[in-house]
């Protein structure tokens, strides 16, 4: 096991753009690598990605293994896996991290199975124990408990949730090596990407700002007030479960245990009392603003800003105020 050394991060790209989770992984990876006194490397696959590879160094990588080939331009789980597995077998990092994105959660398990090593999904924190083993912390049973997991085999692999780790300050003076790798080209992977389409319907889990309505709303049209506020702030509208069940708004807008779990930068709860099922879906938001006329509403227990008042009075005034300031 001691032959394994170093921390490696898989840098994800889509349409030539590095996914921000990769920078977050480098931030955490840097911290762990420094603690262990080892190198932080990064693997990037794509086509014409040379320039972007530098960014990975500015965000903390000591070394970038770059696979630049037309066959790797688009994500193909078989081709990506093949190249990464080969690299990991040669480089032998003790830790390998991927983002817990759709791509990472499809690719990671294949790499783990090929290497016959353990993989922990969807971690929200990573630590190192006194012996240098990776402690992987992930929510289990719908977030009611946190499981602390260690891996007997090497590399220790984890996918890490987007938007929980901090990236480092971008530093153009950071030095690192870009190592151009010879890509193994698989002509026939069994997979062929025919088309890509942007998801048109709202994906509230990706939203940075959410304005959410609950039973305090009196009729379906009143969501327009919240839509206006959300529009001004560059956010999206969401809802607690009762209004979705009433059919006032689509299920894709539902926040809560049985809906979507969100962690935006800003969550504004309007007329939501805060049932446990709703709180489970939003309490990890960075900043929570609650507007409710009932001072004893449970939502105030998780809020950073507690506005005790009628949403029909406060929200329109807030909209006026924001318009005046022309953000």
């Amino acid at each position: 096991m001691s032959e394994y050394r170093g921390v490696m991060v898989f840098a994800e790209q889509e349409d030539g753009e590095i996914h921000p989770v990769s920078y977050e992984l480098l931030g955490k990876g840097r911290e762990i690598a420094d603690r262990l006194g080892v190198e932080l490397s990064c693997v990037l696959l794509g086509f014409e990605m040379k320039k972007k590879a530098n960014e990975l160094i500015f965000y903390g990588a000591d070394k970038v293994f770059l696979y630049d080939h037309p066959s790797l331009k688009e994500f193909d789980v078989v081709r990506y896996k093949q190249n990464i597995v080969k690299l990991v077998k040669e480089e032998k990092p003790e830790i390998l991290l991927l983002g817990a994105t759709h791509l990472g959660r499809s690719l990671g398990p294949r790499i783990a199975a090929a290497l016959n090593t353990g993989l922990t999904a969807d971690c929200i924190d990573l630590k190192v124990d006194e012996k240098g083993n990776l402690i992987q912390i992930r929510p289990a049973f719908s977030g009611n408990i946190l499981a602390h997991i260690k891996t007997k085999t090497r590399p220790q692999m984890a996918t890490v949730r987007y938007k929980v780790m901090r990236r480092m300050e971008r530093d153009e003076s950071r030095k690192g090596k870009i190592i151009k790798m010879e890509a193994e080209v698989i002509e026939e992977s069994g997979l062929e990407l025919l088309n890509k389409e942007k998801v048109s319907e709202v994906n509230i889990t990706e939203a940075e700002i959410i304005v959410s309505g609950g039973r305090g709303l009196k009729k379906p049209d009143d969501f327009n007030i919240l839509r206006e506020l959300a529009g001004l702030l560059g956010g999206v509208v969401a809802s607690s479960r009762p209004l979705v069940d009433e059919g006032w708004i689509g299920r894709e807008h539902q926040v809560g245990f049985s809906g979507n779990i969100v962690h935006p930068k800003l969550y504004i709860a309007c007329g939501i009392s805060g049932s446990p099922q709703h709180l489970a879906g939003m309490r990890d938001s960075d900043v929570i603003v609650a507007i409710n006329s009932d001072p004893s509403a449970p939502i105030f227990k998780v809020a950073d800003y507690c506005v005790i008042g009628d949403l029909y009075e406060v929200v329109p005034k807030l909209i006026d105020e924001i318009r005046k300031r022309k953000w």
Binding site: E14, P109, A113, L191, K196
Partner: protein, 206 residues
């Protein structure tokens, strides 16, 4: 794969359209993490032999890892597509599927033999008729244990002892009560104060 009582899930599957059901059950399979689980399932699929398509759910509701499908595909050495929400076309040799990849949909042709993991949007499960249910109740379910897989697997790679990941501690997340700053009074005043705070937050000062 599961304890003997998992048979009832298989009877439900038979009632909803499956022709045959196999239960992998053995104490030696118990306590498996995703790697050992996937290895066991892949070994059973190898034993079944000739197949075109493996369909897995995206993830379980308890473990929530979503890892078993892709790991099974790797152990079988076949391509996979995860997060499939729709099958657009099919032929004798391939499927065209829609894969939900976060902000984009990927439309992918996957050749057989292959594996897909499907999201809950894939369909509405059919309701079994009474006749289907009765037939399912009478059907025989094959039971395979670890020794039954010895031709396609290394039986030392099953269960807890072959599972590299171990939960060594469970904690309850502290539901951090936040010290909320309270605003009340005239709506105009409240709106102004709140707008001040929002402006700071959105400019990244907080």
């Amino acid at each position: 794969m599961g304890p003997p009582q998992a048979e009832s899930a298989l009877r439900d599957a038979l009632a909803r359209g499956a022709d045959k059901a196999i239960l992998l059950t053995d104490r030696r399979f118990a306590g498996a993490d995703t790697l050992a689980t996937s290895y066991t399932l892949a070994s059973a699929i190898k034993k079944i032999g000739d197949f075109d398509l493996v369909i897995c759910g995206e993830k379980t509701v308890d473990g929530d890892t979503g890892q078993v499908g892709p790991e099974v595909a790797e152990f079988l050495g076949i391509p996979h597509v995860a997060y499939v929400s729709e099958i657009k076309e099919h032929s004798k040799n391939w499927l065209v599927v829609i894969s939900e990849m976060g902000e984009e949909y990927h439309v992918i042709r996957i050749k057989f033999p292959g594996l897909i993991t499907v999201t809950k949007n894939i369909n509405v499960p059919r309701l079994p008729s009474l006749q289907d249910k009765l037939k399912a109740r009478k059907s025989k379910i094959e039971i395979w244990n670890a020794d039954d897989l010895s031709n396609t697997a290394d039986i030392n790679r099953f269960g807890m002892k072959a599972s590299p990941t171990q939960v060594y501690r469970i904690t309850i997340p502290s539901v951090e009560g936040r010290q909320g700053k309270v605003f009340k009074g005239m709506p105009e005043k409240v709106a102004k104060e709140l707008a001040d705070e929002l402006q700071k937050i959105l400019k990244g000062e907080k």
